[in-house]
């Protein structure tokens, strides 16, 4: 199932928390060879994890991490503006209507439906927050994964080659992408809404609640 958890909420899900940071180490340090820091417990964390980001996670039935990503508002510190503005023609992307997505990570063996579910989660969060765009920094080879799930980014720029290539991109937050993502993820609209409501609360009619 999809979960939307801020960093200060994820501690209540220790198994999910531990396996996410460990899978991130496996993907970004071991597999991609990025210069990220991995602590003594084998967890990959950086300074942006300390800013209380919102994580979107795929939780497996046994409570472990199947995949995840990290969202932060672009009005604060972001990887894109702090380190990758050479990929955006020098433009600092800042707007309360644009969030940044980073650290898209899949657990070993996670299927294509997990990628689709995670991107569905991004779109659900974006639509509910009335965002215009999501901006992201990602492993350039992920571009085809994003395209395959039906919501490909507009690539702003790419740095490096092969497995070192890092791209910046934009995803428009538009309702029209939702049906395709739902179908690629194999999730019904109702279930996706239910998962969103579990994290953010169900809308209850106020008129009835007050009476």
């Amino acid at each position: 199932m999809l979960r939307y958890l801020y960093a200060d909420q994820i501690a209540r899900h220790p198994r999910l928390n531990d396996t996410m940071f460990r899978d991130r180490a496996a993907q970004f340090s071991a597999r991609l060879g990025w210069e990220v820091s991995v602590d003594d417990n084998g967890n990959e964390r950086d300074g942006y994890d300390d800013l209380n980001p919102l994580y979107i996670l795929w939780e497996r039935p046994d409570g472990t991490h199947g995949g995840s990503l990290r969202l932060l508002p672009t009005t604060g510190d972001t990887m894109l503006n702090d380190h990758f503005s050479h990929l955006t023609d020098g433009v600092k992307i800042q707007s309360p209507l644009i969030w940044e997505c980073t650290r898209f990570c899949l657990a070993p063996g996670a299927g294509a439906h997990v990628s689709a579910a995670l991107m569905l989660g991004v779109l659900e969060a974006g639509l509910n927050a009335h965002l215009t765009y999501i901006a992201g920094v990602f492993d350039a080879r992920m571009i085809r994964v994003y395209r395959r799930v039906g919501w490909g980014p507009t690539v702003l720029g790419t740095d490096g080659t092969g497995r070192d290539a890092i791209s910046a991109g934009l995803w428009p937050c538009e309702e029209s992408y939702r049906a395709r993502l739902l179908s690629k993820a194999g999730i019904s609209s109702e279930v996706s809404n239910l998962w969103y409501d579990r994290s953010f609360g169900s809308p209850i009619e106020r008129t009835a609640a007050v009476a």
């Binding site: 801020y6 508002p73 020098g90 800042q94 009335h130 765009y133 901006a135 428009p172 209850i204 007050v210």
Partner: protein, 234 residues
């Protein structure tokens, strides 16, 4: 929508003027009440609200921030919150809600948490007596404007706190200037994107970034602001 408010806001130089500007927002935004509450990185608080002073004193006297679901849901968050999604079910919370409604707060509300630099936090709230259908329509139409306006108010409050002699001069990157310049020359977005050899989505994001830096409500307003500040080469 709100252009005149933002033009007024740009002239504001002290907290008294900011208070009066914020108090006009309930009419501008077509809501019952507005609240802007900021806590600086050193813990200093600043609040402006159209709520009745009796309710404000009652709220503070009872330290209702401890149980107010809006405060609890927005602290350390950054997604906007419709009061509909909050849990009002506990006994103390229900009593609090009824007192708020009796004090004229309204039963509907929308709150926008704002994260400023180095731990500064602000909360901007609008409330209304709308029924559920009216409120759904309202939030669909107004939420983006609410989000932008609340951030512009916060930027102004931070600017005043820093001191007027340190007012930040807007600086746009060459690409943002290019994009606004082409629009000022009368091109549409497709033409402007084409002549800059970028995609239309990229152009839109550059314009949106410029809009935020210029504290403008929409593209036309951003172009006008940039022209007035001498940032465009037209």
């Amino acid at each position: 929508m709100l252009e005149s408010f933002l033009d007024r806001l740009s002239q504001v130089g002290n907290l008294d003027d900011l208070d009066s500007a914020i108090l006009t927002l309930s009419d501008e935004l077509n809501v019952e009440h507005v609240v802007y509450h900021s806590v600086s990185s050193s813990g200093e608080q600043y609040a402006v609200t159209t709520y009745h002073p009796t309710w404000v004193n009652h709220y503070l006297g009872n330290d209702y921030a401890r149980i107010d679901p809006v405060v609890l849901a927005c602290l350390r968050r950054f997604h906007p919150v419709d009061w509909k999604r909050l849990d009002w079910s506990g006994k103390a919370t229900r009593n609090f809600m009824h007192e708020a409604i009796d004090a004229g707060v309204g039963s509907q509300g929308y709150s926008i948490p704002i994260r400023g630099p180095s731990g500064q936090f602000a909360l901007f709230t609008v409330s209304s007596r709308d029924n559920d259908d009216q409120w759904t329509t309202y939030t669909q139409d107004y939420t983006r404007s609410l989000i932008l306006a609340s951030h512009f108010v916060n930027q102004k409050a931070l600017e005043i706190e820093r001191g007027t002699d340190q007012a930040e001069i807007v600086s746009l990157s060459p690409r943002e200037t290019d994009a606004l310049t082409l629009l000022a020359l009368g091109m549409n977005r497709a033409q402007a994107a084409d002549s800059l050899s970028i995609s239309e989505h990229t152009l839109r994001v550059y314009i949106e970034s410029a809009r935020f830096k210029l504290a403008a409500m929409n593209t036309t307003h951003a172009v006008a602001r940039a022209m007035n500040q001498g940032l465009l080469r037209v």
